[in-house]
């Protein structure tokens, strides 16, 4: 309980601090949202009209306090650009980014962990050296490049997957899985490489430990030693990395969503910053902050699951 309260208070402080920083940054940045929405060819009339509609004629301080009080009451305000409640704008976008994030994390786990174990077990053999080189490449090459290669190979040449856009889960489950596959894979590749390298290193480290020798002396089979003892310990640091990867996935989705023309949060975040859509940016930063904190919390819980010696401390 104490632990949860402590987490909650740091969480609220973070949100407040983040919103203040964003607010200050927005003050410094030049740019009038009404002018940006309407562009170069807009009339002065049109701009003035829109400013009034958006409430931009009020002072900046007034706007911030009204946003803050609204937020505390559970109202995120209206987006300046889309001229509808922020929640409505986010409602359609969140599932898109969420799908890519979860899908790519699943891919990371399903490919990264088995391969990491495999490379560790075959350490020293040529296949392991070869795969290690591959992971090096995976870390070094940016995700948007993978995205283009994947589109070219699977979308254009073999026409196995759509090259852009998405199918909502409600429309067709298989269709959705297919449309999210390439963006998720593009996002996952570097994460997979990171997981493989981490897991390999920790497994090799753990394999030199005394308890492994003891287990061998007891006459346990190699497989039991690996999966019953080494892996449990080796997975701990990987889990920490996974927590970071989740936060990273949200950042990476910004580029990937652009490449695959997916209307997700990353795409929206960029646009709302360039259009100086203060209420929308604030709400999205808030949302991302909640998510990152939540993921960290889940990672903490998972530690305990994998290693019962860990006790949650406040």
């Amino acid at each position: 309980m104490k632990y949860a309260l402590y987490k909650l208070s740091t969480f609220l402080m973070t949100i407040l601090l983040v919103s203040l920083i964003i607010f200050t940054v927005f003050q410094v940045l030049p740019g009038n949202p009404a002018q940006i929405i309407l562009g170069m060819d807009a009339d002065t009339q049109q701009i003035a009209q829109l400013e009034k509609e958006l409430g931009l004629d009020k002072s900046i301080g007034e706007r911030y306090t009204s946003w803050l009080s609204g937020f505390l009451m559970g109202d995120l305000g209206d987006s300046l650009k889309y001229q509808q409640p922020v929640l409505d704008v986010l409602k359609d976008r969140i599932p898109v980014t969420f799908s890519i994030a979860i899908y790519s994390i699943l891919l990371t786990i399903c490919i990264g962990i088995p391969l990491g174990i495999y490379i560790a077990r075959t350490d020293g053999r040529w296949i392991s050296v070869f795969l290690s080189m591959f992971t090096q490449l995976g870390i070094a090459v940016p995700s948007f490049w993978f995205a283009f290669v994947l589109i070219l190979v699977f979308g254009v040449t073999f026409q196995l997957f759509p090259t852009f856009g998405y199918v909502p889960w409600s429309e067709s489950f298989i269709g959705a899985l297919r449309s999210y596959f390439l963006p998720s894979l593009a996002l996952a590749i570097s994460n997979i490489a990171v997981v493989i390298r981490y897991l390999r290193n920790t497994i090799l480290d753990q394999a030199k430990m005394d308890y492994v020798r003891t287990a061998r002396c007891k006459g346990l089979r190699e497989k039991t030693i690996m999966y019953g003892h080494i892996l449990r310990n080796a997975l701990m640091p990987v889990l920490t990395i996974m927590g970071l990867i989740v936060a990273d996935t949200l950042g990476g989705s910004i580029i990937i969503e652009n490449v695959f023309a997916l209307p997700g949060l990353g795409n929206l975040l960029i646009q709302s910053i360039t259009s100086r859509d203060f209420p929308l940016v604030q709400s999205m930063v808030l949302y991302i902050a909640i998510l990152v904190i939540l993921v960290n919390f889940i990672v903490d819980l998972l530690y305990k699951l994998i290693d019962p010696r860990v006790r949650l401390k406040g």
């Binding site: 049109q46 786990i109 856009g165 690996m226």
Partner: protein, 519 residues
Amino acid sequence: MKMITIKRLFIMLFVLLFIVGCSSPTASKDTQGKTNHSEQNQEKSSNEGGVVRIAMSTEIDNLDPYLSAATDTGSMMDNVFDGLLDTDENGKLVPAIAEKYAISDDGRTYTFYLKEGVMFHDGSELTADDVVYSYAKLGGLNGGEPLSSRFEIVEKVEAKSPLEVVVTLKEVDSAFLARNIVAIVPKDYEEQSSKPIGAGPFKFEEYKVGQELRLSKNENYYDKENTPKIDEVQFKIMPDPESSILAMQAGEIDILPGISKQGLDQLGDTVHSISGPQNMVQLMAMNNSVKPFDDVRVRQAINLAINKDVIIDTVADGMGTKLGTNMSPAMQFYYEPGLEDRYEQNIEKAKELLDEAGLASGFTMELTVPSDYQFHVDTAQVIADQLSQINIQTEIKQIEFSSWLENVYNNAQYETTIIGFTGKLDPYEVLVRYVSDYGKNFMKFQDERYDELIKEAVRETDETKKAALYKKAQTILTDEAAALFIMDPDRTTAMRNGVNGLKLFPIQKFNLEDVTVTK
């Protein structure tokens, strides 16, 4: 033991993900919604029916035609709305909802005679009352704020009969006629922003924010000859140009406007394209109110130092038209030819002029470019290189377009900048940018003769005389070297083989009613 089952689970999950991913390639067509439908139509190999998918790089700013200002949005929604008049490929005004019009001798009264049986998409008939409502709304005549400064000139608008509208202007304005291409909306309908209703060749179906805009054929289009051939249009919002090229290569996009030369090469024989001047003026604006650009000799020297052909070759792959003033030859009737060669590159003469201005040793200038536009950024690099020949050192400062709008466009806080002015139908809208007291004259160009000429042209009702005045004004811009006018970059639109009928207009516009799809 437990770990082994987990391992199996991993393998199963992975295999599952992959099988699902790779299975049934036919299902991939589901993602384009009605694609299967379009293929059925294509199998008939007739020119009727089908779906056309067009890649657009920007989102819709507002579905309401009166609240939207973005060029891209206008070109998409133009298919939903019709105006009293329309434009043809040469920028000539042609009848649309209005069958014909008459202008009074004093040039202040316009009478429009509407076609009979024009229907809005909701089934109601379009009458003079709707036109009155639309124009009153735009001009702020119904008590509200005017929505467009271009309609503030309207004094009153009346319905003489259900098919006759009389528009009276406060004063003569020869630029008014071209403004009548503006959308006519149904009277008292206030939901244009969410469900737009017009009288155009296509009906609004659905807009998925940031994803796609779907329009369907208007079966009851009043202009029977121009009833659309295709059943549906899908504008796909695709911000990344490379992705749209790949999507076209994969057959998921039929029309790709604004494609690069490399993109066209990449697509090869699978597509054909139309290309031509887009009526844009790309220029390097010089803030005429700050030193040393307040000196005409400095501005001329800069003009003389630049070889525009090199810029066109390197930045636009040779696909652009050289300009010498703030007007593109796409505006045939109003364009003053010959000005583009006024300042042939002449380094010696440029140096002399700088010497006369007391700047023989050169100076350093700041060139602010909107970083969102790679085309302008590239142009800046070439210009910087060429200007170094006359000892002008250029510091290129890239800023985000939002900041550019605020700092440069609204507040003229800059020395030099590169931008493109998009095309307008009437020369007044193009040339007014340089009138001394015009609010958005961020070049800070000031010339009494020029102001007078533009004023006179607006009052002139004779087309030929009007054109002569505008041509004179263009010459002043060149003589005074108001800016460094660079080029009108070609706009190239790629079409998948089998898709035909798209034309080029002096404004960004898709004549989708003429487009056909065959196998």
